[in-house]
């Protein structure tokens, strides 16, 4: 484990010993990545909030049995992954990612920076919409691998541990996911260039 991971483990142990400050630091470090990961998975802000709370709640409940056997991030994202899978089982299926919720649209809208010009924002929004469509079209396992890689900062081995598969399987899923996303985005590239030329 690297220094940051060791630090995370120390913070978690300190929290288990009763130090709330340690938890706040830990939470501040990982809340963004975890939230974005869950948001990408669920495409629903309310559901993301629920799963986000549930994940941290499980972490809090399991503090006394926590042992730094792996990176804290791996532990945290494993909890989140299982919360999401449990939710999918409860609802019998993964959320219908082909139906765009207003929250999901809002997420895309927020991707556009207000500092950029309207044309650039429109281009970015178009690109992200394409990307979202491509992500939705991915098989669930490939999307899991891709989102864990992009949002959690986990290595392939750690993604494999989170999803309960072998490292080669995780790598293969990631490779397929990237190839499909690339194919989708390549169709948008000329438009993007054209927009850039105009600006």
């Amino acid at each position: 484990m690297d220094e940051a991971a060791q630090d995370d483990a120390q913070l978690m142990l300190a929290y288990a010993a009763g130090d709330l400050r340690a938890f706040e630091r830990l939470y501040g470090r990982h809340k963004g990545a975890l939230y974005r990961y869950l948001m990408r998975q669920t495409r629903d802000r309310a559901l993301t909030d629920d799963l986000f709370q549930e994940t941290w709640g499980k972490l809090v409940s399991a503090r006394s049995s926590y042992a730094p056997r792996a990176k804290f991030q791996t532990y945290l994202f494993t909890l989140a992954y299982h919360c999401f899978i449990d939710h999918c089982r409860r609802t019998q299926a993964r959320p219908d990612t082909t139906s765009q919720t207003s929250e999901g649209d809002a997420l895309v809208d927020t991707l556009a920076s207000p500092q950029r010009g309207p044309e650039q924002n429109a281009s970015d929004a178009q690109l992200r919409a394409q990307l979202r469509t491509a992500l939705d079209a991915l098989p669930a396992e490939q999307r899991d691998a891709f989102l864990l890689y992009e949002h959690s900062g986990l290595s392939l081995e750690e993604i494999a541990a989170v999803t309960g598969v072998g490292a080669e399987t995780a790598k293969s899923r990631l490779r397929y996911a990237v190839a499909k996303l690339r194919m989708t985005l390549s169709t948008l590239a000329p438009t993007e260039r054209g927009t850039g030329d105009r600006t």
Binding site: Y27, G32, Y35, T110, L127, R128, V178, A189, G196
Partner: protein
């Protein structure tokens, strides 16, 4: 955003350098938990610290996790071993009777010495040739016993020897030497060679009995012989035995 898409051969390099695979997803501001959500999570963490930590219940049987599969495996192995042992006992049980014959065979080989003393060369020759057949193994053993007892009646010295030999013969084999340890094929190989039934030899033994003064036993054996070999002309054979020169 405008970064060109990586070809497949750059996939490994991107993994090694931990670069984002799709820069278009570089959306660090895409979503953050709300301040309210932060407050809820922190509050829950604070409350958890106030609550007493759940005590881990010590396991009554700490080895139970792998003890159950182990017990199942042990039961299976034990059952299999028992079944195999019962099968092998069934296979050896028929071989146990040959083992009786095996112990009886030395009796027959011991008998000639006694018979030589008691009944002369004819009885000795009969005893020497008295090797049990497979079908009549038990009756041969009984006849050998009769011969030994006949020899015992012939003289004190020979009786003592015969008794001691009979004792040796009749001493049951110690359990350790029981043929249960031997596979049936090996036990079969250990049997004496089978010889065809011969009423003449039986008659010789009967004559030896009669010579030794055991007339009642001799008559009983003679009846048995007649019953078993109704076509055997006993009188002619007896005559030939008693007067071999004719």
């Amino acid at each position: 955003m405008s970064e060109p898409l990586r070809p497949d051969d750059e996939f490994e390099r991107a993994l090694r350098t931990r670069r984002r695979l799709v820069p278009a997803l570089d959306d660090d501001h895409a979503g953050e938990p709300s301040a309210e959500l932060d407050r809820l999570v922190i509050e829950r963490a604070r409350q958890a610290l106030r609550e007493p930590q759940p005590q881990e219940v010590p396991k009554v049987f700490p080895l139970l996790n792998w003890g159950v599969p182990l017990a199942l495996a042990a039961t299976l192995v034990l059952s299999f071993t028992l079944v195999m042992q019962m099968d092998s006992q069934d296979a050896v049980a028929p071989a146990a009777r040959p083992a009786t014959a095996t112990t009886a065979a030395p009796a027959l080989q011991e008998a000639p010495a006694a018979l030589a003393d008691a009944a002369g060369p004819t009885a000795a020759a009969a005893a020497e040739s008295a090797v049990p057949s497979r079908e009549r193994r038990e009756s041969n053993a009984a006849r050998a016993d009769l011969a030994v007892r006949a020899a015992a009646g012939a003289g004190a010295k020979s009786a003592t020897e015969a008794d001691s030999r009979r004792y040796e013969v009749r001493t049951p084999a110690p359990p350790a030497a029981a043929p249960t340890a031997l596979p049936s094929s090996v036990a079969r190989m250990a049997r004496p060679l089978d010889t065809p039934n011969d009423p003449r030899r039986w008659l010789v033994a009967i004559e030896a009995l009669r010579t030794a003064g055991k007339a009642a036993e001799a008559d009983r054996e003679l009846s048995a012989l007649r019953a078993r070999y109704p076509d055997f002309v006993v009188e002619a054979e007896l005559e030939r035995l008693r007067n071999p020169k004719r």
